[in-house]
Amino acid sequence: MDGQGQIVIEGVNHTYRPARGRAVPALSNVTLQVRPREFLALLGPSGCGKSTLLYLVGGFLPTEAGRILVEGKPVAAPGPDRGIVFQHFALFPWKTVRGNVLYGLERQGLPRAERDRRAQSFINLVGLRGFEESYPSQLSGGMKQRTAIARTLAFDPSILLMDEPFGALDAQTRSLMQTELLSIWQRTPKTVIFVTHDVQEAVYLAERVAVMSSRPGQIKAIVETKFEKRDPSILRAKEFVEKVDHIWNLVRDEAIKAQELSA
């Protein structure tokens, strides 16, 4: 299927208007194209509007200026073609792991046997077999995020929007989850927009890294980060370290600017 999972962002502006206080420009004239089945990282200092851009693509916020096309159609509302994964998991705490993964499948009106089969296969995919009846409050952070990923993959979106999904995890869990996400993505290819402020994570996971400027966010540079093989051994390879260095230099100026902004 040609164009499946393609995203076009053209001249998008966004202003954040808190209930009290003055309006803050969050995004300014952002233009970006994401190719079908591409893994793109959106990298920038905190507060640069990278999550806002993700929420706009997800349809959770209204597009005020410019346009966002998903598979050729303008984004109007959230839909199961774009699955989102949040930093703090957003699991339904009163539902078990199975109940969480089933929720999207129930909304799609699949027959019961088919729902159960799909839910189980995605629970197995993220390595949570045996925890189907556990509640989120009984799981570790890594297991919660696995559940959230299984829940999103289960309703089979062609696009995966990930909002710093490993930001709340400890370092070891984080690196395990990164490798696992890559292997899942290789098995079930989807277009991925992965928001992060971790340069190494962006270079390791993504095929292209879009570096954003500090507030109001703009796309400052787009860097190809495709390597021949993707496994943890690459983290020490010379070409990888050089790429991280190069991107880190791009980000650093913006991080400093962002700090001055918030000071």
């Binding site: 959230p78 699955g83 989102i84 009163w94």
Partner: protein, 280 residues
């Protein structure tokens, strides 16, 4: 100070089994201590009443009150009064619960409903609703419907407030996730917002329940007839001081049992919640 901390670390050392046993002992001790303080009060009551400083009429001994409750139970009066009071309090409580949750949910989703009811709730919540009792007696008479109405009127406020607050504090990400998976507006409120707000809603119900019982008793006292409150007023009029104190003890027991029952229901409904998971 440092030494106490060291001891605490040592005590926590010897492993899970000892820890579990300590926890069990601790719970038993706490329950025992709670029962003990009540026992002390009852013994003091008994001794003081028998000391000769007060007459039997002013303060009958606890044992005499228990004997009276026993006789009432055998005669059947206790069950009629208890049943009527519970019936009025529980019907009122259930109507307040269903109505309060519905109104709170509607207020949180529909702007005009919020606009209309929010000031009424704000003014009405701190107000003593029992002041409307004479009005309700004028309008509805002295029947069950007037007693239940005043209970609903008083108990609905904490439920509405808790539901509103609970729904307002549901994480945006939860609602977004559900919308992302294709939930409709109606499903969002029933399947996501209300379950997510359940801990706070239950807290509201735990406030509304004693209010229901208190208002039932007051209404019964004011209107007379059967029911624990009415029976106490009748006993008082006949200078039957054992009957009055029997009513007080009965109300205390009923109130305690109702609160405990609701706490058990809370534990069941919130089996998923960290407050329950951590305790088990």
């Amino acid at each position: 100070m440092a030494r106490i901390e060291d001891q605490a670390t040592l005590a926590a050392g010897p492993g899970d089994l000892a820890h579990e046993r300590a926890k069990g002992l601790d719970a038993a001790f706490r329950f025992g201590a709670g029962a003990l303080s009540i026992l002390v009060v009852l013994v003091a009551w008994e001794l003081f009443a028998r000391s000769g400083r007060v007459t039997m009429f002013m303060l009958p001994p606890f044992s005499a009150v228990v004997a009276r409750i026993y006789t009432d139970a055998l005669g059947g009066d206790l069950w009629i009064n208890l049943g009527l009071t519970l019936y009025r309090a529980m019907i009122g409580f259930v109507i307040a619960a269903v109505g309060g949750i519905t109104l709170g949910a509607l207020m949180s989703r529909i702007r005009i409903v919020h606009w209309f009811f929010d000031p009424i709730i704000s003014v009405g919540f701190p107000m003593p609703k029992i002041a409307f009792l004479p009005v309700i007696m004028l309008w509805l008479g002295l029947y069950d419907v007037s007693k239940i109405s005043i209970v609903v009127f008083d108990a609905i406020f904490p439920v509405v407030t808790a539901t509103l607050g609970g729904i307002a504090s549901v994480e945006k990400e939860l609602l977004w996730s559900a919308r992302n998976m294709g939930a409709s507006e109606r499903q969002l409120i029933w399947q996501i917002a209300l379950p997510a707000a359940l801990p706070q809603i239950l807290t509201g119900l735990q406030v509304a329940l004693p209010i229901s019982l208190i208002v039932t008793i007051i209404a019964e006292m004011a209107m007379g007839g059967y029911g624990l409150g009415g029976a106490m007023m009748t006993a008082s009029r006949f200078a039957d001081s054992r009957g009055v104190f029997a009513g007080i003890v009965e109300i205390a027991i009923v109130g305690y049992a109702l609160i405990k029952a609701l706490a058990v229901i809370r534990g069941r409904l919130l089996a998923w919640h960290p407050e329950t998971v951590e305790r088990s």
